[in-house]
């Protein structure tokens, strides 16, 4: 309980600050959605130690399933997102269970192959996905409870919905990472052989990590499609997986707030830079390299470092005053 009490205000503050500080609502919406997506990647990489190029599968799947449910099933947007989440969990369990049968570079290559497969399947099934053109005109069907209608038909309302989702998903993931499951994942990441010898069925832990990661990524993918009213094919491209990875790594994968920083950095800096310098991805490549060499913990560790430095300075200054 104390965990929620501590983190809930921080998360609400982040959601409010994004709304108030960022130049546009759509930018703030995008930051929160991609923060969830980066968090999904961070669960795999930072906790289970799995470098996966498969996140675009869940992202694209969530977008397609949520969109198709709005178009063909006519269910409300909440149900649509829940179906997308369930689909994400199912496919993540499958992809995860297959991919973790191999380790190291072979694991990475498998996730890469699965993403390419997902891309070409989406491309081929153009009757459902719209192929190259993407799935256009995705509606947001309103929720109708006993004649009381909840619609997310304005960008403010949509932002409010995304913000609530953001807070709840982050609280859930904070709880999971602070659980014994989270601790066991860290143990497996540090020493898989020992964990196995101690009795842990390592593969099921990894599959469960995949399921959590895949579900929240698919949910966020669904929100992104509803946000754009559009589910483009580029959602399932390998390059999307790369961007998600880079976002998570630059933000820092050992801490849930790293995901927020990573998303903030990529979405906001990308938005600002691309206005006058279209090739800002060049910079991103360089930053990725520098992060790996000099700041493995990402921006979040840098931020903590600054805090520590300041508190030490402030702390020592105050003790000097006392003496």
């Amino acid at each position: 309980m104390s965990l929620e009490l501590k983190h809930c205000p921080i998360l609400i503050a982040i959601a409010l600050a994004a709304f108030l500080v960022l130049p546009s609502i759509s930018l703030a919406t995008e930051v929160l959605i991609f923060a969830i997506i980066a968090l999904g990647c961070s669960i795999l990489l930072g906790y289970a130690g799995l470098l996966s190029f498969g996140q675009a599968i869940f992202f694209g799947l969530g977008a397609y399933v949520a969109s198709l449910s709005q178009i063909h099933l006519g269910v409300n947007f909440l149900v649509g997102l829940l179906i997308a989440t369930a689909a994400g969990a199912t496919v993540a369990a499958l992809v995860g269970a297959l991919a973790i049968r191999r380790q190291g570079i072979y694991f990475v290559m498998l996730t890469l192959a699965f993403t390419q497969l997902a891309f070409f399947v989406s491309y081929t099934l153009d009757e459902w996905t719209g192929g190259d053109n993407g799935l256009l005109d995705v509606p947001r069907n309103s929720v109708d409870i006993f004649g009381f209608e909840i619609a997310i038909d304005s960008s403010e309302k949509f932002y409010a919905f995304v913000a609530i989702s953001f807070v709840l998903i982050f609280l859930g993931m904070i709880r999971i990472t602070h659980s014994q499951f989270g601790r066991t994942l860290l143990a497996i990441k540090q020493n898989e052989e020992r964990a196995t010898a101690l009795g842990y069925s390592v593969k099921w832990y990894k599959v469960l990590a995949f399921i959590f990661s895949g579900s929240i990524t698919a949910y966020a993918g669904g929100m992104y499609a509803l946000f754009l009213n559009f589910a483009p094919l580029s959602n399932v491209e390998l390059i999307m997986s790369e961007h998600i990875l880079i976002m998570a790594i630059i933000g820092g994968t050992g801490n849930v707030y790293g995901a927020v920083l990573g998303s903030l950095f990529l979405v906001v800096v990308g938005d600002m830079l691309s206005a006058f310098w279209e090739r800002w991805l060049f910079l991103l490549g360089g930053i990725l390299i520098l992060t790996v060499f000099y700041m493995r913990g990402g921006l979040i560790s840098g931020l903590y470092g600054v805090f520590e430095f300041l508190s030490q300075k402030f702390g020592s200054a105050s003790t000097q005053k006392e003496s």
Partner: protein, 252 residues
């Protein structure tokens, strides 16, 4: 009533037979050592017993259950724990956290509890963790990060990890390996004390220690059992002397 027996245990790699027809018989609450010169098949035998490698033929019975086909992760919940020859810890965690993870490993579901806090889950390990801390002498260093311990201390924690699982049988793979001469008594005392509560199977190449603390010794050579007996019998056995001739004649 033996606790662990192997029946014609054989492991071959293609044509090469690393271990041939080994029949072990480990009695409860004893310290049973397996020794032999390099290439005798000790390590392969150990891997088969821990489940890291599959046997080619033969059977392993633990506590009257056939375990030959169980993976390594299945054996600890039956009451069989192991240490590693090369220290294998969770180096970024504290001593206590290492022991907690070890203690929870025997439960098949506790590690999967993702909704309740870790603090509430590890409560149930308190007794096992305290026992391991006490037995290995880590009471005052429980909050030290494992990576910051000295090499000798890491070797002790290595044994402590197996103890925290409260096993019936503990398999120790060269627990003194890489230890300084001064630290070795620390481990050998510990191992000797353990047989009060549990059974110890020790793989070791340090003949001196083995002769000093074991109840029963199995000497292996070229993948087979050469001779078996009490330390006194082994000390005076001509075949053992020959096998070790020119090598480790620490019994002299």
């Amino acid at each position: 009533m033996s606790i662990l027996t192997t029946n014609r245990l054989t492991k071959s790699y293609g044509e090469f037979k690393a271990v041939t027809d080994v029949n072990l018989d480990v009695q409860p609450n004893t310290l049973h050592a397996v020794i032999g010169p390099n290439g005798a098949g000790k390590t392969t035998l150990f891997h088969c017993l821990t489940g890291v490698q599959r046997l080619t033929s033969g059977r392993i019975l633990f506590d009257n259950k056939e375990i030959s086909k169980l993976g390594p992760e299945k054996r600890s919940s039956l009451g069989m724990s192991r240490s590693f020859q090369v220290t294998s810890l969770f180096l970024e965690m504290t001593v206590r956290e290492n022991l907690q993870i070890a203690a929870l490993g025997v439960s098949s579901i506790d590690g999967f509890r993702f909704w309740s806090s870790s603090a509430s889950t590890v409560k149930k390990t308190a007794a096992a963790v305290d026992y391991a801390l006490e037995t290995t002498g880590f009471e005052n260093r429980a909050e030290t990060i494992a990576g910051d311990l000295s090499h000798g201390q890491q070797r002790m924690l290595e044994v402590g990890m197996a103890l925290a699982q409260q096993p019936k049988l503990i398999l120790l793979d060269e627990p003194t390996s890489g230890m300084g001469v001064d630290d070795i008594p620390m481990i050998s005392d510990l191992v000797r004390r353990l047989t009060k509560d549990i059974t110890v199977l020790l793989i070791e190449h340090n003949m001196g220690i083995v002769l000093e603390i074991s109840d029963k010794i199995t000497v292996m050579q070229l993948g087979q059992i050469l001779v078996e007996g009490t330390p006194n019998q082994i000390k005076n056995d001509q075949r053992v002397r020959e096998a070790y001739l020119g090598g480790e004649t620490e019994d002299a």
